[in-house]
């Protein structure tokens, strides 16, 4: 009897915490808030008030904190994931937008749109280590899987800058199409993808040769070319499938990671910006800047299964274990 009771109790407990329960944090650029979403029930569980113009958002490597760049307050705020409250700030340069961390979670690199620099921050000491001069309007930030090369894209210079993380010197500059906004490496380091919002393309860069080896272009029947503006990129860990947000085209392109062919277009909300996978890669969530919602994509089925209302002008998103 007692045993049965315990068993039932355990079953109930197991059912209540299914394996797919993750937490998504969405930055709302106009609302000055971060929306917290439970990915089991797909419901909003909390709205956190943050500083002005929150955009870039990412979990710390240990999962204990969420960091959000609040550009108009010239800082990065740190949210404790347990209490879901702001506990600290980081000394970024003026107008931080996007940032990236090294694998150990010790160093952070921040793109400061206003003064053509990338700021280096020691995350443990929460202190500024220095600045790197880059092109006009730095934006996209990513780090190579081996941690040796930092990539920054500059929107008006139209380049991907390759920065040696040891010397903090620029070692190469690769010209891409207009207004490069986001950069992502394949996990096996074989390719670097850079989206160009105004150019309307995604450049495939060979990270060894440091040159553009291919370009992904998009064509959507009935839609004028100028409306196709690639921004956020999401790639599965195996590198086989990529998703590219196309901004005011209101679609996410599904791209074959090997052949770079567009497989299909998924209709989402208005002005789709950025995206993140659930850690099990079952779902991909994308932010829709103008329609104030987030679309949930079933990765295997390549279908939009849900739309969740968030705050005003959602921009960035990050997902991790609760």
């Amino acid at each position: 009897m007692w045993r049965r009771c315990l068993l039932t109790g355990m079953l109930v407990w197991l059912a209540a915490t299914p394996a797919s329960a993750f937490v998504a944090y969405v930055s709302n650029e106009k609302g000055n808030t971060v929306t917290v979403i439970d990915t089991n029930s797909w419901t909003v569980t909390k709205t956190i008030k943050v500083g002005q113009r929150p955009r870039g958002i990412e979990f710390s490597r240990d999962g204990k904190f969420v960091m959000v760049a609040v550009g108009d307050d010239d800082t990065i705020q740190v949210i404790d994931t347990k209490t879901q409250e702001i506990v600290d700030t980081l000394p970024s340069g003026p107008d931080p937008e996007l940032f990236t961390q090294d694998a150990a979670g010790k160093t952070m690199y921040v793109a400061n749109e206003n003064d053509n620099t990338v700021t280096v921050i020691d995350l443990e000491k929460r202190a500024r280590l220095g600045d790197i001069q880059v092109g006009v309007e730095p934006e996209g930030m990513t780090i190579s899987p081996d941690g040796k090369i930092l990539i920054n894209t500059s929107e008006t210079t139209n380049m991907a800058h390759f920065i040696d993380t040891t010397t903090r010197q620029i070692v190469a500059n690769v010209l891409v199409d207009s207004r490069p906004r986001f950069a992502q490496f394949k996990r096996d380091s074989s390719e670097l993808w850079v989206s160009s919002e105004i150019g309307g393309t995604v450049s495939i860069i060979d990270p060894v040769k440091r040159e553009v080896t291919g370009k992904i272009t998009f064509e959507i029947p009935g839609l004028r070319n100028e409306a196709i503006q690639p921004v956020g990129i999401g790639m599965t860990k195996d590198g086989k499938t990529a998703f590219i947000a196309l901004g005011p085209a209101n679609r996410v392109a599904v791209v074959d990671g090997a052949t770079h062919k567009v497989l299909k277009y998924l209709l989402v909300g208005q002005r789709v910006w950025h995206m993140d996978f659930t850690p099990d890669e079952k779902y991909l969530m994308v932010t829709n800047g103008v329609s104030n919602d987030v679309s949930v994509i079933d990765v295997a089925a390549q279908k939009v299964i849900k739309t969740i209302q968030v705050g005003e002008l959602p921009w960035g998103i990050t997902i991790a274990q609760p």
Binding site: S154, T156, S178, E197, N225, E226, Q229
Partner: protein, 393 residues
């Protein structure tokens, strides 16, 4: 002797090394005209460096990019005064520069274009909005960065029609350019289905724009001038000469909004524009020039950036290659308007969205939703390919 020879070789090696490291210099001329026009509103009075300040910012931006490509951009600006031989000034400037950005009236621009035609110098027109420069008087060596009157009028017309303000009372000034603007507005009304219910002319009888008791008089004049009009939704004013339009808002006999040369104004740029990353350039501009950015500043910035963009894409200091790229199908430029800007190949006019601003805020951006086009929605603004009178030569 032998030692001397070695010395010479070593010296020449050093010299070659230095040459290889020297950046490619790209010289851009800026030809403006002296004397600023007087505006009704004191806060709209253009600065002395209106336009050139935008080109200077673009040179800084080009040089930030240029340091990664070993390219250096240099600006050389000259102003012509009334009575100067503009062709001679332009020829001198062309001797020192690969390209010339111009802010000149239509007639002077044509004189310069024809004077420099055989040298192959390309002009980038940042200042003149006259349609004729892109139509019957178009030139193969002039790229137009400034929007045309018809593009501005169409941008306004689309919005007013979208707003269902379709009955217009058109008030035109008595100067030539006012009449040209009125022509463009009439054309817009016809294209987009608005109706001009009545036209009035405001005669410029002279008089100062600054007086000590001006408001009292204007407050009596403007209601009287606008009374007894047929039913209308919006007063559209064509007053490029700055004689009356800015006196109209809040003073019309009937309580109606004002648009055109005052009230809701179509423009290529506004200091309040903050969408699509524009805050970045607004901040950079204020930091460099200690004032806010005007439409002319933006047009000059775009012109100098177009040269920078084409120079980095071609990785060349050869103006022929750069111009071929600018005129080719792969050229586009990002200019904080939410879409790429490209050149109309039939008359070298830059396609661009037009802002509608009221002096404090950007109210809307045209083309408006629903105005469709088979090539580019930006071609719903201004004179389109099938109607063009331009034969480039």
């Amino acid at each position: 002797m032998f030692r001397w020879l070695i010395g010479t070789i070593a010296l020449s090696m050093v010299a070659t090394g230095a040459l290889a490291a020297d950046p490619v210099e790209i010289h851009i001329g800026y030809l403006g005209h002296a004397g600023v026009r007087s505006t009704l509103s004191l806060i709209q009075q253009p600065a002395d460096n209106d336009g050139i300040a935008g080109a200077r910012l673009a040179i800084e931006d080009n040089n930030t990019t240029g340091k990664f490509l070993n390219q250096r951009f240099v600006l050389d600006d000259v102003k012509v005064k009334d009575g100067d031989d503009v062709a001679k000034v332009a020829t001198d400037l062309a001797g020192r520069n690969d390209y010339i950005i111009t802010d000149l009236p239509a007639e002077a621009l044509l004189t310069v274009a024809d004077a420099l035609r055989d040298r192959g110098t390309v002009l980038l027109n940042a200042g003149a909005i006259d349609d004729r420069l892109r139509e019957q008087d178009c030139r193969a060596n002039v790229i137009h960065v400034a929007p045309t009157r018809s593009m501005l009028a169409d941008a306004l017309g689309q919005y007013l029609v979208w707003k269902q303000w379709k009955r217009w009372l058109l008030v035109t000034g008595s100067h030539d350019q006012d009449k040209l603007y009125a022509d463009a507005l009439r054309r817009a009304a016809t294209r987009f289905g608005a109706k001009i219910v009545q036209e009035r002319t405001f005669e410029d009888t002279g008089g100062a724009r600054r007086t000590d008791s001006g408001v009292t008089l204007i407050q009596r004049q403007m209601p009287v001038f606008t009374q007894q009009a047929p039913a209308y939704d919006v007063l559209v004013a064509a007053d490029e000469s700055e004689v009356f339009a800015n006196y109209l808002p809040y003073r019309t006999w009937d309580p109606r909004p004002v648009a055109g040369s005052a009230g809701l104004v179509p423009t290529s740029w506004d200091a309040a524009h903050d969408q699509w990353g524009a805050v970045q350039i607004q901040n950079r501009f204020v930091k460099l020039n200690m004032r806010r950015m005007t439409a002319l500043d933006m047009q000059a910035w775009t012109a100098a950036r177009m040269i920078g963009e084409a120079t980095s894409r071609t990785n060349s200091g050869d103006p022929r290659k750069v111009i071929a790229f600018l005129k080719g199908k792969d050229f586009s430029i990002a200019a904080f308007k939410g879409t790429r800007l490209t050149l109309r190949d039939w008359n070298l006019q830059l396609r661009q969205p037009i802002l509608l601003a009221d002096g404090r805020m950007v109210v809307s951006v045209s083309p408006q939703e629903g105005f469709l086009h088979q090539v580019s929605e930006l071609d719903t603004l201004g004179v389109d390919r099938p109607e063009t009178k331009c034969k480039l030569q």
